[in-house]
């Protein structure tokens, strides 16, 4: 991963318990997708994150589109504000 950069991985609510931390800097290549990144770092986690959406740089994104130059990847469980 010569072109890798560090991305800040955020996990909220139930997702934090699944991956065991709320915030962590992790290496990521621009071509890598959120799904691939989570599978690489937390091989058993994705089935438990099936209800989660992802956000890149504070905007909803796809699990299956490349992260590109994003600097922050967030795991967003079903929301429950109000």
């Amino acid at each position: 991963m010569d072109d890798s950069h560090l991305i800040n991985l955020l996990a909220f609510a139930q997702a934090r318990a699944v991956i065991g931390c709320g915030e962590r800097l992790v290496p990521c290549s621009p071509a890598e997708t959120p799904a691939a990144l989570i599978d690489r770092l937390f091989p058993d986690a994705r089935p438990k994150l099936s209800g989660c959406r992802v956000a890149i740089d504070a905007a909803y994104a796809s699990w299956d589109e490349p992260i590109g130059t994003g600097r922050e990847l967030a795991l967003i469980p079903p929301v429950s504000g109000g």
Partner: protein, 124 residues
């Protein structure tokens, strides 16, 4: 449209609109979401809220911008608690001011409905 978005760990203290208004607003809606003594049928002692703050504000501003065309309003003031909120206390206050009541009610209802779908705030 003026949009104010705030998150606070402090109790929400009701502040009445300052009358007289400017003469353009014919309707002011105040909505408080209040913590009940049960969640999904289970008794609770209170709620604890968490938010992804930069994204929550961004999503709320996006939703307000999308609602402005169908329901033109003059101002929106949205405040949500984070952290612990006791039973009976408000976790959310939305004030919408508009020329007419229909837009104000519709805007407030849809803003809250869409918050519950897309804005990254959680009861934890």
């Amino acid at each position: 449209m003026e949009v104010i978005i705030r998150f606070t760990a402090e109790p929400l203290v009701p502040i009445a609109p300052v009358f007289p208004l400017n003469g353009r607003n014919g309707a002011v809606i105040d909505f408080y979401g209040v913590v009940r003594g049960q969640e999904k049928g289970v008794p609770i002692e209170g709620l604890n809220y968490e938010a992804y703050l930069p994204m929550a504000e961004r999503e709320l501003r996006r939703i307000c911008a999308e609602l402005e065309e169908p329901f033109p309003c003059r101002s929106v003031d949205f405040v949500h608690r984070i952290g612990a909120v006791a039973i009976g206390e408000p976790s959310l206050h939305v004030r919408v001011a508009a020329a007419h009541r229909a837009e104000a009610f519709d805007f407030a209802r849809q803003l809250i409905d869409r918050m519950k779908e897309d804005v990254p705030i959680w009861k934890i």
